[in-house]
Amino acid sequence: MNAEPTLGACPLPLPSSASDQLLLAHGEGARATRRLIRELMAHAFANPFLDPLGDAAVLPDLHGQAVLSTDSYVVSPLFFPGGDIGKLAVHGTINDLAVSGADPLYLSLAIIAEEGLPLETLRKVIESIRDAALSCAIPIVTGDTKVVPRGTADGLFLNTTGLGRLRDDAHLSANRIEPGDAILVSGTIGDHGLAILSAREQLEMGDTIRSDTTPLHIMVAHLLQSGVDVKFLRDATRGGVSAVCHELAEASGRTLLLRESALPISEPVRGACELLGLDPLYVANEGKLIAIVAAPDAERARDLLHAHPAGRQAAIIGEVTTNQGATVLVRGPLGYDRILDEPTGAPLPRIC
């Protein structure tokens, strides 16, 4: 954490009641709040890089090419079935590094909290960040906290930046994609988006739909290590599988063909999407990646993914086809290929 220059050396009594809320930076209460945050963070994330609490973390030599990625997390609600904003912030940035072919090494954490946020909420999120980072064995080495006036932030925003080292066995580029390559997804799609929607709109879908938020770096490392010719990786987050495929079609100038019948979709997600008029291809994931793999390696890549908890339901969902321009096609159950349109704005649930 950055040192707070306004903090006095004199210890202040810490607010401790469960009803305590974050206060804006004025008055004695605010000093106590800042103090508390500092204590919380230093205690939760203790590691040799963070512990000096300087303005920046000094890190050892990376012995390789540095890969840097940053992402902000503004999810509402903060807690949802299967996860919370803290887990997302750790997993999301780790996954961005992983699919870039890097081994994630360090994270930074920035917190923007709204005045009035219950301290208990903040504590729970910090614990979740701590647990997620610990289980990934990635230390949080620097950070910052700001409290902003009520009404200027939706409870709590997080930003994490991840630093990683490029793997020698990663040769990922949209330019390497060619007709015949297989398209794989590492598991069921649509779970995260539906879990958030369900929690946000109180759709009462029970506990059957849970966010899939999970770190992918170990699985990606094994896949790359195996010698499978992996040409491209991307985590299918906002905009879902559709957004990744469109991005890839655009970058490579190739046509991607997905087979609707091959898409792994859990029954509850399928049912909810049917009810709500949503297409799972457009729904967000937080623990799924799309891999483009040379055709002869497709089945081996799928089997390697199957060996990981995050990849148990991995599937080959399509292929890069004879060139019909930079577009994405979906082959339906009757054998008809339709263009997968790029979504316009947020998907809006239909009337009936």
Partner: protein
């Protein structure tokens, strides 16, 4: 998934297509009334698979599309008022009014919320006694019972801060308007299965008798639609014009009596304008005298808003099956889902949006034949 997968079965679809080919001796023009059916047809390429035996013409059954511009302008005026929470099905948020849409009103600070059920709007009203909560009651006979239930619930709970902006429309008068138009070339109808689930299909017997056209109540999955098309074509080939029910797993002749009773309790039939089509006699529902106090149009004094529809959007002709979306000169050029000129380009059930999403695909080089 039960009740879905068996109606997407490619083998069954192939059998129905083969049977259709054996049955047809001349081309027929059939209208699917509902926008949900239009989307299934285009998404699965059924409109092309049945060519040239059957020409499918897309009907007016998209609730968002037929909601008059004037009513959308009224919605925008209400939603922009301070103290109002304006609630709506998601579909309506992007529909352009004369100069705005609900998403822009929200961006400017209006409290516009998507709800999944009108009862959620009643809950919001109960939780916000100091605010006026309005629900935009659009849709056909399918959504009307739910909005009726909401207003009954609001009245029972004594909520004086809840009201409905009502734009409900009825399917049979629209079918009759299409049939009675001199330019109409429609020879048979696939009636909307979900509408009939609510109100049944007794009203259609008078139409089949008067206009000598077959009407087949049809579901929404690919196999449903192929079967509905086949049933209609069989009638046409045999010179029959009857009401038949393909969607018997959901539809009973008299409909759902509970839902019908709710409609009778809350609404009365009225003349209503349809966007792009004009006023159709006895084609809509409005709150009856007992529930008039819940009418947002009177509560917010927006009755004075009168809007003229722009001439360049030809959605009225599309909705009546007179032109196909791609025959409109603005289609996919000046009019796209990002910048829609009219509602059919917005709604997921709109014919123009369906054509835009599914109809512009590259001709597949290696499309697999349907397994036999």
């Amino acid at each position: 998934m039960k009740y879905v997968d068996e109606y997407r079965d490619p083998v069954l679809a192939r059998r129905l297509l083969d049977e259709l080919r054996r049955t047809v001796t001349q081309p027929w023009a059939i209208m699917e009334v509902c926008g949900g059916q239009t989307h299934t047809l285009l998404r699965n390429g059924i409109d092309e698979l049945v060519q040239p035996l059957v020409r499918l013409v897309h009907g007016p059954g998209c609730p968002v599309c037929v909601t008059p511009l004037e009513l959308i302008d009224k919605a925008l005026a209400i939603a922009a008022q301070p103290g109002v929470i304006f609630t709506s099905f998601g579909d309506m948020l992007r529909v352009p009014g004369s100069s705005d849409d609900l998403l822009r009103v929200r961006a400017r600070g209006g409290d516009v919320r998507i709800v999944y059920s009108p009862l959620d709007a009643v809950r919001i009203a109960a939780e916000n006694p100091g605010r006026n909560v309005v629900f935009f009651a659009v849709g056909f006979e399918t959504t009307a019972p739910a909005t009726a239930l909401a207003v009954v619930d609001a009245k029972r709970r004594g909520l004086t801060n809840f009201s409905l902006l009502v734009s409900h429309v009825l399917v049979p008068p629209a079918i009759e308007a299409i049939l009675s138009a001199p330019a109409s070339q429609i020879q048979g109808f696939l009636a909307a299965g979900h509408v009939c689930t609510v109100v049944g299909f007794e009203e259609y017997f008078a139409l089949t008798d008067r206009y000598k056209v077959p009407i087949v109540v049809t579901g929404f999955e690919p196999v449903d639609l192929l079967e509905g098309i086949l049933m209609t074509v069989r009638q046409l080939e045999q010179g029959r014009h009857e009401v038949e029910n393909q969607y018997a797993r959901s539809v009973k002749r008299a409909g759902n009596s509970t839902a019908r009773a709710l409609l009778d309790q809350v609404y009365e039939v009225c003349d209503r304008p349809w966007r792009g089509i004009g006023v159709l006699a006895r084609s809509g529902l409005r709150l009856n005298a007992e529930y008039h106090a819940f009418d947002a149009e009177t509560r917010f004094a927006v009755e004075g808003i009168h809007t003229v529809e722009p001439p360049e959007c030809r959605s009225g002709e599309v909705l009546q099956g007179l032109i196909r979306p791609e025959q409109c000169p603005e289609f996919a050029t000046r009019c796209t889902p990002e910048r829609p000129l009219g509602a059919p380009m917005v709604s997921s059930e709109g014919a123009c949006a369906a054509y835009y999403r599914y109809g512009r695909r590259a001709r597949p080089v290696a499309s697999e034949p349907i397994p036999s």
